[in-house]
């Protein structure tokens, strides 16, 4: 680990100013990913700007939306009474991630901006376009069981490892950003990028921008949502495939509205808009669910070790929608 200076600003504006002043500075949340990457010398910041004390409250607003400070710990968000009752998919997604020790430390902002766990990204001796642009990708022909089946490129097949983000994307969450030019908002769905030719550019954040909060808009059927994670161990493992979904079935047994997102399959939390479009207005049956899953995965490409994830993703989508469809279907 290289030497660094440590700063604890007391507000967002000074945090951004510190970041602007140090070209090799990084924002520090709970450190559960960044400290590890620094120890591996994958990340070599010269200054750490600790933002854990800046915004760590959860506010329930009059319109039913939740405003979650970026410094809120994962455990605190999963445990919040409104999240448990109105957005259970979010509680379940967070609780499906990492271990209790890590969730007690990891922040909401840090979870969003965590890096991929691709082994070749971590291994300085391997080729990785994300770590060293234009050096090549050893995952393409290597051990790629945990890699992407959707939206990948010849440059990068890494996945975004977050569970929380998959639920947040399904819930149409919006991130609040503080930058040198002021505040702006961005849909979480539009924050992470697909790799294309530049996998080293992972988000649409402007230079020095800081995530200050995540806004979760109200969702009338959010209470009918869940998260299912399929993994190699029963607990404490990254997803092979995960599904976050909310489903509203009307009195006629038709899909009134639906939210669907996938994890473990792409360079970003994958909102399944094609499947959602097919489901809306159709009868909530296993056949409809399967057709929607087929459409979403139609462009999926399997690698040496992960082609099974295409069928696994389809089956997990169907299973989760079956679980949520309820009495009306």
């Amino acid at each position: 680990m290289n030497i660094f200076s440590y700063h604890q600003p007391t507000d967002g504006v000074s945090a951004v100013a510190l970041k602007e002043a140090g070209p090799k500075a990084k924002y520090l949340g709970g450190g559960t990913n960044l400290v590890d990457l620094m120890r591996e010398t994958v990340e070599r910041p010269e200054a750490l700007i600790d933002v854990t004390q800046l915004s760590n409250t959860i506010e329930l607003r009059a319109d039913g939306s939740l405003l979650v400070g970026a410094g809120v710990k994962n455990t605190a968000l999963a445990t919040h009474a409104v999240v448990r009752s109105q957005f259970p998919a979010l509680s379940r997604a967070i609780l499906a991630g990492a271990s209790a020790q890590i969730r007690n430390v990891a922040t909401v902002g840090g979870n969003i901006l965590q890096r991929t766990r691709c082994r070749y990204f971590y291994d300085n001796a391997a080729r990785c376009n994300k770590r060293r642009p234009n050096s090549g990708c050893d995952a393409l022909e290597g051990f790629n069981r945990y890699h992407a089946i959707l939206g990948a490129s010849k440059s990068c097949v890494a996945t975004h490892p977050s569970d929380m983000c998959v639920a947040l994307v399904a819930l149409d969450a919006v991130v609040h950003l503080q930058g040198p030019a002021g505040m702006r908002k961005l849909r979480l769905q539009d924050l992470h990028r697909l790799p294309g030719e530049t996998p080293e550019i992972e988000t649409e954040l402007h230079p020095d921008e800081l995530i200050t909060a995540v806004e979760i808009p109200p969702l009338s059927f959010g209470y009918r949502s869940t998260y299912r994670k399929v993994r190699d161990r029963a607990s404490y493992a990254f997803a092979l495939v995960s599904v976050a979904a909310a489903l509203d079935v009307n009195g006629a047994g038709e899909v009134q509205d639906v939210r669907l997102a996938l994890g473990g399959v792409a360079h970003k939390p994958w909102r399944a808009l094609k499947a959602e479009a097919i489901l809306k207005g159709q009868r909530a049956t296993a056949d409809t669910f399967r057709a929607a899953a087929e459409a979403e995965l139609a462009d999926a490409i399997g690698l040496r070790d992960n082609a099974f994830k295409i069928e696994l993703a389809k089956r997990t989508i169907v299973a989760v929608l079956e679980e949520l469809k309820g009495e009306n279907a």
Binding site: I3, A96, A98, S99, Q101, S235
Partner: protein, 177 residues
């Protein structure tokens, strides 16, 4: 840097890069806390910060200044082992013992989480105000602590017996006959 460790105020001059784990072991010679993977995968380094369990290997000490830190050395009180320590001995909750300090601190932290109604991914009803503690819950909640000797059955028995006993005692206090 100043900390409160196992009830004692300490002041340490340490390299800015020092993890909380290395602070304990290398600067304060509190070697009960173990270094296993040093990357947050094994849980051997688990300590309690203001009562909450964390992996001390991933924690930069500088971020925890002024906090109350409890290590395995701080679990026993007045010369008497913590009930979980006694139960680990009783139920063979270890073989080589290397993961045990982390297992113990983790179990103490887990007990606090259950008291605060923190759910887990296997909790069926997220809206309930009471966690029903069973083996499935314990195994899920302790999944951040690996034991390469495979003493899991003894660990689960020790935790199960201790926490269920504590809870029934507390329930008894709340509802006198």
């Amino acid at each position: 840097m100043r900390f409160n460790i196992n009830g004692t105020a300490v002041e340490v001059e340490a390299d800015i890069r020092t993890s909380l784990l290395d602070l304990m072991r290398n600067y304060l010679h509190l070697t009960g806390t173990k270094k296993g993977c040093d990357q947050g995968a094994c849980g051997a380094c688990t300590v309690l910060v203001d009562g909450e369990r964390i992996n001390s290997c991933l924690a930069l000490a500088v971020q925890y200044q002024g906090r109350n830190i409890t290590t395995v050395e701080g679990l026993a009180a007045n010369g008497s082992l913590h009930p979980l320590q006694k139960a680990f001995i009783e139920h063979d909750g270890f073989q080589c013992g290397y993961c045990t300090p982390g297992q113990l601190c983790s179990a103490v932290g887990m007990a606090g989480e259950i008291e605060r109604n923190v759910p887990s991914v296997v909790t069926a009803d997220l809206t309930s105000d009471h966690i029903t503690l069973d083996e499935t819950e314990i195994r899920e909640r302790m999944s951040g602590n690996l034991c390469r000797c495979g003493a899991y059955n003894g660990i689960v028995e020790a935790i199960s017996e201790t926490l269920i006993e504590q809870r029934s005692m507390k329930a008894g206090e709340r509802a006198p006959a």
